[in-house]
């Protein structure tokens, strides 16, 4: 061994000497064979050495080589070329695009491992970082809507720092999380949003929003986002990826000349969709004016009365300023990238803002020929001033303001709050005579603010033990510390839960002011170790990876609460009355330990077999009979265009059919659900009693079984491509915590039961209709159709998440046989013949006081349609988001109707007789009494106040929305030549959420009534008290030094 090593070094030295002797500089220009345009960034390497460079922005390269050496030119998406160095010192190269382009597109399959998409056997879609960056969106998740088939993104609101939820394919888990796993450079990172129920006030998760933490990632650091859909992803990543995985690869430094990139963005946000408010009738009740109510059931305004669009009037132009700076540099041994981003955003509503700072360093070094190490470190600082939403939030406050009064006039001359009605400690929801806060006053005086410091670091070590055997170790730490401040002014009617009041809602006035603060420390550590062997046996290429992964996550929320301010409006817990102070501490610790094996087998480039196995131990099931579970997955791919008769076909360049099957085990959504917990009591003698939710030592893991069939085609050398998937998921043994008969000993209980079936169809089409030197046009179309059905709930009739019971009697409930995205609401009481029952004393329809199936939020299909044009130095990119079908609960409209604000109450003077039969005891007889009671809504406000909830679910909502459009102009080289500072420069203008054409009567059907931390089927499609996503127009420039 030693001898051979010595010999090796001798030879190496000789070669080196020889090289040094005859070296000469080879230069040249690399262009595209298709259109002759220069190709920057092409890798130029001397074969068999570490020497290499890249072409510059003009496609020009320069490399030292000696005659006889072979220069290898390679570029993603192009056919590589090799040239042997001869006497010529100028070698120009024209690279052709690769007919089987897919061969070269690497995808990240798991734990940072790149693989060839050609060999994948399950659906994978990649979005390039540029596509995300150009939208300039604060929460990059929002840029994925329409760009990935099968992904549904719902933004909670249009406020700065709003959370967004993303669901890949359907909702497989009725009681757990359906969020995909987020992986950055092979390391799991947190996407947790604070759950309001973990605060000392044990809130109901709908008053406030908390940013989902993946939104911290600076979009400018993203190289690619690879979306692994469905259970196949989980087979590698474990139960936390049972909702799929989103794998982010960050930008790294490249070998070659160093660059400095600076870009900025100035954004202007405007609100442009509003609910329609009537301005005919003023404040009062039953047609008469009243000094004790705020409802608009009073007499009509006198002609000429000035009225105001108060909601519009409180809106402002939101500003965004982004500054990004990145340094890149490196050589073949070491590369690094350093990036900084500062982002300041204000919203369309007053006061709110979100300020973000991100600093990221990443470096790679080849320590030896066998050992490569890379590491990254990312620091974030986020300051988010929020506004409350829902019942007593800013938006409803603005809607409720009297239309003959200017909402902007909210202070008395002495600076105190101007009231419409006398201050009262009653609760808005139960008392219609309460004075809603002025929205501007609310925004300034009711404070909700989160400050986060976060650090993500990771290391990646790769060791090539032999030519066929690689060892790889990855480890990462993600720590986020958030300090939250919630402050309700002592003059405010806004309310929230109070621990002093058995967690019932109470208002600022009733309590003398509330402070509900928290500190959240979220630490996620994970590491993996893999041994990967790659060997060719005859016609078989094999890859076998065996490894282990350990995950340790902990989250600790310390809440502290106090009421009754001593000094008005002094925002500190020390200002609350000591006897009202309460504190809470919630620690969540979760660990996983898994063994993973992955086998890849390729036969003659025609057949691919992928199989994985993962055995996972979950701490969340520790204490049960089964604390571990096994996932198998197997996939088969058949590239039929490799068959002799079909190979090199000029039309069908590439064709593959694939099938995969995977099973996933899943643990409960949270730890400590095995043994029931005790709650401290305030009754005489104190002590402990069981909490309302019973835990269960008999829990078993959920089981999802997913079958995926797909096909991939490339026509005309990749000018037209299609990726088609059909999937079916059966999710059994659902772990959920339904309400149950008290005979269980509890009011809710964690149980296994129920089954959900999902199936869907996804198509992703790519096309390049025009491709020439000066003009190109690319099209991307993503089609998604998905259905989810609740097969059973284990014998229970209904399951709902109480957080989604946002307003009135409408909630996200599922029933056996219903859709997983069902909306349940109270409907009309009817007799056995189905006729509407009318109250015989009032003539107004009666509610059935029963939650029934009332709507389905699942669209029939959705389409993302992207177009990308380049004309010389101009670049135009835009994306449409199209949705067909799906129901939305228009809670704002229900509120406005009950409050006399809706334009539908303009018919109040017209007497009507509601068709139906009287509930007079004869309703189920052969001759029910037909209703002939005339109602004049103007004098019988109950006609509106008793509106039937189900009427406010709007069905089959369609929309076409221009999600984003970017026009950029690259300054021509002729111009840049005159100076030596900038290598390239471009300017751009971008607009997001530009317009929407929809049949929805409210402002925006694409909102979430709770926030992204809600489990199960969530409250997407519940439109109540949240500000819609505004239109943002931004412009900026990008320069490279």
């Amino acid at each position: 061994m030693k001898k051979s090593l010595l010999f090796f070094f001798l030879v190496l030295c000789c070669c080196a000497l020889k090289t040094m002797a005859q070296v000469q500089s080879i230069t040249g220009k690399i262009t595209s064979a298709d259109d002759g345009s220069p190709l920057p960034g092409v890798s130029v390497k001397i074969k068999g050495t570490n020497i290499g460079t890249q072409s510059d922005s003009k496609g020009v390269y320069s490399i030292a080589a000696s005659p006889g050496q072979v220069i290898v030119y390679s570029f993603i998406g192009m056919k590589g070329q090799e040239k042997t160095v001869g006497t010529a010192t100028v070698v120009n190269i024209a690279l052709q695009s690769d007919a089987t382009m897919l061969k070269e597109v690497p995808i990240t399959v798991g734990f940072g491992v790149k693989a060839d998409k050609r060999y994948s056997t399950s659906p994978v879609q990649t979005v390039k970082g540029e596509a995300i960056q150009q939208t300039q969106r604060e929460n990059f998740i929002n840029a994925l809507q329409g760009r990935v088939a099968g992904a549904t993104v719902t933004s909670t609101s249009g406020n700065p720092g709003a959370s967004s939820s993303i669901v890949l394919r359907g909702l497989n888990s009725i009681g757990g999380s359906n969020s995909p796993l987020f992986v950055v450079d092979g390391i799991r990172v947190s996407n947790d949003a604070v759950d309001q129920s973990s605060l000392a006030s044990n809130g109901d998760n709908r008053r406030e929003d908390f940013t989902n933490r993946i939104a911290d990632i600076n979009p400018d650091d993203i190289e690619t986002v690879t979306v692994l859909k469905g259970a196949d992803a989980a087979a590698v990543y474990g139960s936390s990826a049972s909702g799929g995985a989103i794998v982010i690869t960050t930008r790294k430094g490249h070998a070659g000349p160093g660059t400095v990139t600076y870009d900025n963005d100035f954004g202007f946000a405007t609100a442009y969709r509003f609910p329609k408010i009537q301005t005919v009738y003023g404040v009062g009740q039953n047609g008469s004016s009243s000094g004790v109510v705020r409802t608009l059931f009073g007499p009509a305004y006198a002609p000429g009365t000035q009225t105001y669009n108060n909601l519009q009037d409180i809106m402002q132009t939101g500003h965004t300023v982004i500054n990004n700076l990145a340094f890149e540099g490196g050589n073949e041994i070491t590369t690094y990238r350093l990036s900084a981003s500062i982002r300041n955003t204000t919203g369309v509503l007053p006061v709110a803002y979100n300020d973000k700072i991100s600093l990221r360093f990443s470096g790679t070094s080849k320590i030896s020929s066998k050992l490569t190490s890379s590491a990254s470190f990312n620091y974030f600082n986020i300051d988010n001033r929020k506004l409350n939403k829902g019942n007593s939030g800013t938006y409803i406050d603005a809607l409720a303001w009297p239309t003959n009064d200017d909402v902007r006039n909210y202070l008395n001359p002495d600076g105190t709050r101007r009231l419409i009605l006398p201050a009262s400690g009653s609760n808005i929801t139960s008392d219609a005579t309460v004075d809603f806060d002025n929205p501007i006053w609310d925004a300034h005086n009711n404070i909700s603010r989160d400050k986060t410091n976060r650090m993500i670091g990771n290391i990646d070590l790769s060791f090539d033990a032999t030519s066929w055997l690689n060892f790889r170790a990855l480890a990462g730490v993600d720590y986020a510390a958030t300090a939250g401040n919630n402050f309700v002014s002592q003059y405010s009617s806004s309310y929230q839960n109070s621990p002093l009041n058995s967690f019932a809602a109470t208002s600022g006035i009733a309590t003398g002011g509330i402070i509900d603060n928290y500190n959240d420390g979220n630490l996620q550590i994970n590491g993996s170790f893999f041994a990967t062997g790659k060997k060719q046996f005859g016609d078989f290429k094999t890859t076998l990876a065996v490894g282990a992964e350990a995950i340790s996550n902990s989250d600790e929320v310390n809440g502290y609460y106090g009421e009754k301010f001593i000094q008005p409006d002094f925002n500190n817990i020390n200002n609350t009355t000591p006897t009202t102070q309460r504190s809470s501490d919630y620690v969540k610790k979760v660990r996983y330990l898994s063994g993973i094996a992955r086998l890849g087998l390729v036969y003659k480039e025609i057949l691919t077999l992928n199989a994985t196995a993962r055995e996972e131990y979950s701490s969340k099931l520790s204490g049960t009979q089964q604390d571990h579970y096994f996932y198998p997955s197997v996939g088969l791919g058949f590239i039929f265009t490799e068959l002799p008769g079909l190979k090199d076909n000029p039309i069908l360049s590439f064709g593959k059919i694939r099938a995969s099957y995977a099973e996933v085990g899943k643990d409960p959504a949270a730890p400590y659900k095995i043994r029931s917990t005790l709650l401290q009591q305030t009754t005489t003698g104190g002590g402990f009693a069981y909490d309302v939710t019973g835990n269960n030592p008999n829990l078993r893991p959920e089981r999802d079984k997913e079958l995926d069939l797909g096909a991939e085609f490339q026509f005309f050398n990749g000018r037209l491509g299609a990726d088609i998937s059909y999937y079916e998921v059966k999710a059994t043994n659902q772990i959920f915590n339904p309400r149950i008969s008290y005979a269980s000993g509890y009011i809710l209980e964690y149980l296994n039961g129920g089954e959900v079936k999902n199936h869907g169809f996804e198509v992703s089409l790519t096309g390049a209709p025009v491709k020439s030197k000066n003009f190109s046009w690319d099209v991307l179309l993503n089609f998604t159709a998905a259905r989810g059905k609740v097969v059973s709930l284990g014998g229970l009739p209904e399951y709902y998440n109480s957080d989604t019971w946002i307003y009135s009697n409408v909630r996200s409930s599922i029933f056996p046989g219903s859709s997983t995205t069902n909306i349940a609401a109270y409907g009309y009481a009817r007799n056995k013949a189905g006729q509407i029952l009318i109250d015989p004393t009032s003539g107004i329809p009666i509610s059935n006081v029963t939650f029934g199936v009332a709507g389905d939020r699942q669209p029939k299909f959705s389409i993302g349609l992207g177009n990308h044009f380049t004309f010389k130095d101009l670049d135009l990119n835009f994306l449409f988001d199209i949705r067909k079908g799906g129901d939305v609960f228009n809670g704002n409209e229900l509120f406005m109707t009950r409050y006399g604000l809706s334009v539908r109450t303009l018919n109040r003077m017209t007497p009507i007789v509601i068709p139906g039969v009287l509930k007079d005891g004869n309703e189920n007889s052969a001759n029910p009494t037909v209703n002939n009671i005339q109602v004049t809504p103007n004098t019988q406000n109950n006609y509106y106040a008793n509106s039937i909830d189900a009427d406010f679910i709007e069905h089959n909502i369609n929309w076409v929305r221009l999600k984003d459009i970017t026009l950029s102009y690259r300054l021509p080289q002729s111009l840049l030549k005159r100076q030596s500072v900038f290598k390239s420069a471009s300017v751009f203008v971008t607009a997001t959420d530009v317009f929407m054409i929809t049949n929805y009567s409210g402002a925006d059907p694409d909102v979430n009534g709770t926030n992204s931390s809600t489990l199960g089927t969530g409250a997407a499609g519940f439109d109540y008290g949240t500000v819609p996503t505004p239109r943002v127009i931004s412009l900026g420039l990008k320069v490279k030094l």
Binding site: A548, Y586, V590, R591, I674, T684, A689, G794, G795, L796
Partner: protein, 528 residues
């Protein structure tokens, strides 16, 4: 090669099941305990009992015409119910949630540590829960209750519930005797730590268990198998004075530990004394007089309230308070004469059991004496019945004179003088000889003794006699019955809506509990 070996070794270590288990064994909740000492579990269980009685007494008190609503045609005054509501479903929560698994957990602590008195108390409270619940609901879930593997639960009929009470009482007695045998203590300091009913006095617990048995035996009075001697036997082993009464302490320091009827909780306002109780206390029923005499019964000033014009008025049937808008003649709060808003001054001492720290009364000596009186009367033992009747009336006067507060099982207030008591006992409202005694005397003196705290028992009595107005002479059958009743009076309470009517529907259907007139169905215990 070495590194390869090490990695294989590392992986093997990682995969060994035992180390996996150790690594993931972090599922013990650090935020809340999952076990507790029996003494920490008992206080909330006992508080839950008082709560169940208080909450449901609001509605049952209207059924029984202990009180009524100020507004006419109140649904409960009409002997109806609120659909899709948990109103009048509190005892269901008490039995299954407050007592339920908490008693099981209490046993899990007490049995291995041989704290037999706690084991006994657990059984006694289960027995009390099924007796009280069984009388309200008739059908209950007994055999399948608390099974963590079940999603739905089948019901058992009243006979099973009643048998369960006897079984639990027997076990309670066995364990209490074992406790006494083990350490020879009458008052157990261990039990006292968590016992806010009897403060560890085991002999009083035994008396309470016998009181439940007496109630269980008496309530079967309509059955051929009824055994009056059993009632006498159990009653004789039960309470011997008001100092033995079963009641739960209320500290009255904040909302959570205050009596439901106290001014802080402010729940008593909507409930106006009934015409029935007014006429019992002003002598019109017992003496047959047509005019109100407020001097006859010294309890009248303690139990009920005068309008501002010094007249005692009560709600008749479904009439509500016809003078509700007249400040002079409206029926005031039970807190005191003329009081129409919740007292807020501190200390806000009120009379009777309307204080923040008044104990939550469950069963009394007087009540048990009336059990005995009724049983013996039915048997024909008039002298025995009379003696018990006199004891009962005396006990009631004593109870009203000295209502229990805070940690004292009997009060020392002496609101009623010995002379007044003696006058009443020899007066026209009390029968002076066994020969004159009627069932109506027993049942109506019992009705007075149960006032406010014992509405559940009062309603059970009325149902046993099918609302017979010869016995309950002040009971006024509602002029308007709830539409779903189909003209029938109320006999049973529906199981809690949000527990059963949504989550356990098929089980309800099996015995007709989904019928609109289900609440008029007679329960098993009153059937012959």
């Amino acid at each position: 090669m070495k590194s390869f070996k090490y990695s294989i070794l590392t992986m093997l270590v990682l995969f060994s099941a035992s180390s996996c288990k150790k690594y993931i064994d972090v599922n013990t909740n650090p935020n809340a305990p999952v076990t507790a000492d029996a003494s920490a579990l008992l206080p909330p269980i006992q508080a839950g009992m008082a709560r169940g009685v208080w909450y449901d007494s609001r509605y049952i008190g209207q059924y029984a015409q202990v009180w009524g609503s100020a507004t006419a045609n109140n649904v409960w005054d009409e002997e109806g119910y609120l659909p899709a509501s948990d109103s009048n479903g509190e005892m269901w929560r008490t039995v299954y949630f407050s007592l339920g698994q908490n008693i099981t957990l209490l046993w899990q602590d007490a049995i291995p540590k041989k704290k037999w008195d706690y084991v006994a108390v657990g059984y006694a409270l289960r027995a009390w829960g099924f007796q009280t619940g069984g009388d309200l609901y008739d059908h209950m879930i007994v055999k399948e209750a608390f099974d963590p593997t079940r999603l739905t639960f089948d019901y058992d009929d009243g006979s099973v519930v009643y048998a369960e009470v006897v079984k639990d009482c027997q076990l309670a007695l066995n364990y209490m005797n074992l406790a006494i045998k083990t350490d020879n203590q009458t008052i157990s300091p261990t039990l006292a730590k968590g016992d806010y009913m009897y403060y560890g006095d085991r002999s009083k617990w035994i008396k309470f268990i016998y009181a439940i048995l007496a109630q269980n035996a008496l309530h079967l009075s309509n059955k051929a198998s009824f055994n009056a001697d059993n009632v006498k036997k159990y009653a004789d082993s039960s309470f011997v004075s008001n100092a033995d009464n079963a009641s739960v302490e209320c500290k009255g320091s904040q909302s959570g530990d205050s009596n439901f009827w106290g001014p802080s909780r402010g729940n008593i306002g909507p409930y106006k004394q009934s015409d029935f109780i007014v006429r019992l206390l002003d002598g019109r029923i017992f003496t047959g007089s047509t005019t109100q005499d407020t001097t006859l019964d010294p309890r009248i000033k303690q139990l009920i309230s005068q309008s501002k014009d010094k007249v005692y008025r009560g709600v008749i049937g479904t009439n509500g308070d016809p003078n509700a808008s007249d400040a002079t003649t409206l029926i005031p709060y039970l807190f005191g004469n003329g009081v129409t808003s919740y007292p807020t001054a501190t200390p806000n001492a009120q009379r009777y059991i309307y204080n923040d720290n008044s104990r939550g009364v469950l069963m009394t000596y007087g009540e048990v004496q009336f059990f005995k009186a009724e049983a013996l009367f039915k048997k024909g033992d008039l002298s025995g019945a009379y003696a018990a009747y006199i004891n009962g009336v005396n006990a009631s006067l004593d109870f009203v004179s000295n209502p229990p507060q805070a940690a004292s099982l009997t009060g020392t207030q002496r609101f009623i003088s010995a002379a007044a008591i003696a006058a009443y006992m020899s007066g026209p409202c009390v029968k002076q000889s066994a020969a004159d005694l009627t069932l109506a005397d027993i049942m109506q003196q019992k009705f007075i003794s149960l006032f406010v705290w014992g509405s559940l028992e009062a309603w059970a009595d009325e149902r046993r006699y099918n609302y017979d107005t010869n016995i309950f002479q002040g009971f006024s059958k509602p002029g308007t019955l709830y539409p779903d009743n189909g003209g029938k009076q109320v006999y049973v309470v529906r199981p809690r809506y949000n527990s059963e009517y949504i989550w356990n529907v098929p089980a309800l259907k099996s015995f007709g509990a989904l019928d609109p007139d289900y609440h008029t169905k007679k329960p098993w215990f009153i059937l012959p």
